[in-house]
């Protein structure tokens, strides 16, 4: 059985206790995206400023469990200052880490996707890898990331420029 320490790594608890980039940003220049976990009622609001193809600033508000809050905090630290392309690749790499892939059914190891994303450095985010062993918590970990994608899409849309 996976123990609590597999899920609640020290760095996760640290981000939960002291969330980074917490707050709101003026709109414009920021765009705002809202995400809900319909199963548990967690809500997240992301403010993101994209300028010249770079994520200049990001703030996060909302409420949720330790996993959703720390994932959001780590995400904000990881994407701030990154290009849109880098940020999107990070999202893909993180979501790949959080997926129970169908290749488990087929017996292959999903190497193809891993190769494409092999150069993406997840850093501290690796601490969230243990969440996969707790399938009902995966949605907690991915909530902020799915919401970020909405925010980046909106920021990159012609009307948002």
């Amino acid at each position: 059985m996976a123990g609590l320490e597999d899920l609640y790594r020290e760095i996760i608890l640290d981000h939960y206790r002291s969330p980074r980039n917490r707050g709101e940003l003026d709109m414009p220049p920021a765009v705002r995206a809202e995400g809900f976990n319909p199963l548990c009622g967690d809500e997240i609001v992301i403010y993101v400023v994209v300028d010249d193809g770079v994520v200049r600033d990001i703030k996060i508000s909302g409420q949720g469990c330790s996993i959703s809050q720390s994932s959001a905090s780590m995400m904000s630290a990881a994407v701030k200052g990154k290009s849109l392309d880098e940020a999107r690749r990070l999202v893909r790499a993180f979501k790949a880490m959080m997926s129970i892939h169908e290749h488990v059914l087929d017996g292959d190891d999903g190497a193809e996707e891993s190769e494409v994303l092999a150069d993406v450095k997840l850093g501290d985010l690796e601490a969230l890898r243990g969440v996969v062993k707790f399938p009902v918590r995966i949605k907690c970990a991915t909530l902020a990331w799915n919401t970020l994608v909405q925010g980046l899409d909106e920021a990159a849309a012609p009307a948002g420029r």
């Binding site: 059985m1 123990g3 609590l4 899920l7 609640y8 608890l13 206790r17 199963l39 548990c40 009622g41 967690d42 809500e43 409420q63 949720g64 469990c65 330790s66 996993i67 809050q69 707790f134 918590r137 907690c140």
Partner: protein
Amino acid sequence: MSLDPTRVRKDFPILERELNGRRLVYLDSAASSQKPRAVIDAMTRFIETSYAPTHRSAYTLATEATEAYETARLKVRRFVNAPSETEIVFTKNATESLNLVAYSWGRANLRAGDAVVLTHMEHHANIVPWQMLAAERGIELRWVPLTADGRLELTSLDELLDGAKAFCFTAMSNVLGTINPVRRLADAAHAHGAVAVVDACQYVPHVPTDVQAMGADFLAFSGHKMCGPTGVGVLWGREELLEAMPPFLGGGQMIADVRLDGFTPAPLPAKFEAGTPPIVEVVGLGAAIDYLGELGMADVRAHEQAVTAYALRVLHDRLGDRLTIHGPSSVEDRGGTVSLALEGVHPHDVSQVLDQTNVCVRAGHHCAKPLMRQLGVGATARASFYIYNDESDADALADGLVAATDFFSF
């Protein structure tokens, strides 16, 4: 004779299961109850010996199956003291029962500008069907608010009911455990010419139920919360109301005649049972009613009150101010469902820590998001006690909550 939870537990095979060398502490019966051997066996035996489509053919198996199905209806009638078995409609679950009322009764009786009164403690199943109808028909929804201790605030009930056509309320909150004064609410509805639609999903499994004494017009509940299987629910409705309603789902079984230019609906209750019903599940529900009947519903209620009183006391003693209970703090007019907030620990994390010792509680909004907003929280952790729970389960819950506060203490 009072209920002995140690003996009751032996009737439930799943409760013999150990995980990591520890017994299960199942405290999620408000979401779905476990199933006793008697129900499992009755369903298996029926499938192995008497299974056939009901109400169709003359062969012996079909007759036996029909008899088993209709006998279950008689058991349901007696269990809730309905005047007639023709008023007992089998559905998929309580959600479908409430949708049936909103769709069929609602469409036949509500016009633009009419009002329907709901309460802030309703489950989504008794909100969304009315919102769907409101959006389609332009009806007005009004809401009965709550008091600070999680009961209905009834001081302006008469104003809210003024001109209303329906008053839809839960008999017992699935979050707060509050048991509402159904008779008083139904009388108030009737005084204003409104029908009383009662969501009794959390009530029928736990409290002796008498639809006539309650004064209700419609009453909905599910089989799976009362030791029966999933896939079967019940709608009880007063005969003259059901008679005057158009059918809900169309198809086989619900018709008396079908011509190219139209159809004639079947008499009650077939009118509302389109298609092949959940035959095996209905038989299982009948067995669940037999099982609860043998325990005695008055004893079930007394046991749950006692174990809930113990739980409330021990939780307060062990956790003090770090723990908030959403809902009534005394067991008067309160069921065995206890929603918790632990200071500094999110409900998801609470349930994750409790899982370490196999304490099963629900964490989330419990399909009652409007109520969560009233409480000012996104979620709660909910422990719910039933016939197989005892004081040791309340102790295990308290131990787990203490462990959660320790783990997350910063």
